[in-house]
């Protein structure tokens, strides 16, 4: 199966309108209006429980919003969920690799699940393995890889089908600095090739690498802009200061 181009060309990668999600009495995401442009590296930040994960799950069409709407790669998340999932990639800090499958088998499995098969799959996998420098390890069991290599393989699996949009949920948690640097290089390469990236992270140096950031706090969007704009808005010197300030506020501690 070939990946068909997105709906209306030039449509933003993500558009949400008054997106809201309730779990019983508590509201996880409240009135979220967000637009992410194609090819953008967009950071979603916020303390634990701020609604990041819920937002990502809704955008991946895993969870229906309570109200409001959202389009991802030009498709409605509620009514075109299956098609949304064909065009996006997702990688979490847990990687989602099968430890008891080899590097190649993991890649083969995920690319097949995304509908690739036959010669197209073989060609795509060969390219991919080469680009990611996994050639020497294709027959190694994924469980025996080091953290950095696992991360690389997870990214390879999440992008085997050349998704238009990639969701990265704390992808660099627990990885050494060198591997993190390599990883971000891959992210920029993907973005340069036109892939839209949405990333959540707890590392503030990574947040500074995003083109634009959104800060969530208790389900509300409280800041949106380039890292520079946001630091200025909060009168802080770095994104880290902004984050700590917000976390204090969330925890009800007066600064």
């Amino acid at each position: 199966m070939t990946v068909t181009p997105a709906g209306p060309s030039g449509a933003p990668a993500v558009v949400t309108r008054a997106l809201r999600k309730e779990f019983g009495a508590s509201v996880a995401v409240e009135g979220l209006d967000l637009t992410i442009n194609r090819g953008e590296v967009f950071g979603l930040l916020g303390p634990n429980g701020s609604g990041k994960t819920t937002t990502i799950r809704m955008l991946c069409a895993l969870m229906a919003p309570t109200s409001g709407s959202a389009e991802v790669v030009g498709l409605d998340i509620e009514h075109q969920g299956e098609r949304v999932r064909e065009r996006i990639g997702y990688m979490s800090q847990r990687y989602g690799l099968y430890d008891d499958l080899t590097v190649y088998e993991n890649l083969r499995f995920y690319s097949t699940v995304y509908g690739l098969h036959g010669d197209a799959r073989a060609k795509r996998l060969a390219e991919h393995i080469h680009t990611l420098g996994l050639d020497d390890r294709i027959n190694q069991l994924a469980g025996t890889l080091s953290g950095g290599w696992k991360q690389r393989l997870a990214l390879a699996c999440a992008t085997a089908h050349s998704p238009e949009m990639l969701f990265l949920d704390e992808p660099t948690a627990g990885v050494d600095p060198a591997a993190r640097r390599d990883f971000w290089k891959s992210i920029y390469d993907l973005a340069a090739a036109g892939t839209t990236i949405l990333v959540t992270t707890h590392y503030m140096d990574e947040a500074e690498r995003c083109q634009r950031l959104a800060f969530l706090s208790r389900g509300h969007l409280i800041a949106l802009g380039t890292p520079k704009e946001i630091t200025t808005q909060f009168g802080a010197t770095s994104i880290e200061d902004v984050f700590i300030e917000l976390q204090r506020r969330d925890e009800g501690v007066r600064v």
Partner: protein, 376 residues
């Protein structure tokens, strides 16, 4: 079939492929799945013998006549008892049983032959170690039958008439009354229960623990393909196990296959679905593989004890029978024994089949719903 459905189901094959590659790698599970049929078969076929053969028996013969020796011979010939020695006194007899050197004792009083000759009722006594009630009851009835047969014979000889009554004891379906023939078909049901609840639930929980389930649901695989891909491999394993047990059972235990084997394989389906429903349900409740295992064993116990696998359900107190009524294994055992031992046709087993279908439908409806929720 619409294009969309076809695309969705095409995602099922990679799941199936992946599942078998993983199975091959997972030595422990692989070992469990291949060794279990053999171990279960040997364990339940050989070790659990509810029929009594060669019960070690001592004899206290105080009569010491041709008549008493004849009685000893008849008892020994039943095959239930193996005469291991003679004792000279009641005390010695008691010591033999206390020391477990003998499980039974035949006591023939001094006036046995005299009473017999005088036309009075002669008595002999069979003492059985009743610590194991099952073997002792079988032994006692065996002895009584033997004695009754002998009595008839003696009456016939004395009166020199044709026997007034001839009672031929001829058990059906399991003429040798071997428990293996009763137990081995049940091994199939127990094995399938283990594979489809324990191994299936731990396999699903493992995916959740490792985060691969989370990864799978964001792919376009679809919840149906995901579930089918996770469940179907274990059904195939179940059929392989069933075939192995049937083959070994025939080879080693000479289990008859009176009925239609294709029908047996077909009627195994609702049972498998019901067991998969339990496995899926356990996977939605258990937080870890260890919990899934515990829950599965918790489910196995009533299956082994109350389904009629070893102990007859009619002999159980009523509440225990009610529990048995909701266990799919209870019905599958009827189907298994019916088809294999009695050669029944479908009209004989439609009732347990319907029961299995009802249980499977309810279990799957509940578990599929719960499972869909957990992967949202």
């Amino acid at each position: 079939m619409s294009l969309v459905t076809r695309v969705r189901l095409s995602r099922f094959w990679p799941m199936l492929w992946k599942e078998f590659v993983q199975m091959r790698r997972d030595r422990l599970t692989l070992g469990m799945m291949t060794m279990l049929p053999a171990v279960q078969l040997m364990l339940f076929g050989y070790a659990i013998q509810t029929d009594v053969r060669h019960l070690p028996t001592v004899v206290l013969d105080e009569s010491r006549t041709a008549d008493s020796r004849r009685l000893i011979g008849v008892i020994a010939n039943t095959g239930n008892f193996q005469i291991v020695g003679e004792v000279a006194s009641r005390e010695a007899l008691r010591a033999e049983i206390m020391a477990s050197r003998a499980s039974a004792a035949l006591v023939i009083p001094p006036d046995y032959a005299r009473d017999l000759r005088a036309g009075r009722t002669a008595t002999a006594q069979m003492i059985v170690d009743a610590a194991d009630p099952q073997s002792s009851s079988a032994a006692m009835s065996g002895a009584q039958l033997a004695a009754a047969a002998l009595a008839t014979q003696i009456v016939t000889e004395r009166a020199a008439l044709v026997p007034p009554l001839e009672m031929r004891v001829r058990p059906w379906f399991n003429p040798a009354q071997r428990s293996a023939i009763f137990i081995v078909p049940g091994v199939i049901g127990v094995l399938l229960t283990i594979t489809l609840t324990l191994i299936t639930s731990t396999a699903i929980v493992r995916e959740r623990e490792r985060g691969t389930l989370e990864q799978l649901v964001v792919t376009p695989i679809g919840k149906t393909s995901l579930m089918l891909g996770k469940l179907v491999p274990f059904m195939l394993v179940g059929y392989v196990q069933m075939t192995v047990v049937l083959g070994l059972g025939k080879l080693i235990f000479r289990i008859p296959t009176e009925g239609s084997i294709p029908m047996l394989y077909l009627l195994a389906l609702p049972f498998m679905f019901a067991s998969l429903g339990v496995g899926l349900l356990i996977s939605t409740v258990a937080r870890s593989q260890a919990q899934a295992m515990q829950l599965s064993f918790f489910f196995m116990l009533p299956n082994i004890l109350l389904s009629g696998y070893i102990f007859p359900r009619v002999a159980m107190p009523e509440p225990a029978q009610w529990i048995g009524l909701v266990l799919p294994l209870t019905y599958f055992l009827k189907v298994l024994r019916g088809i294999l031992l009695k050669g029944v046709v479908f009209t004989d087993v439609w009732q347990p089949t319907v029961s299995m279908i009802v249980i499977a439908t309810v279990l799957l409806a509940v578990s599929v719903r719960r499972f869909r929720k957990t992967i949202e």
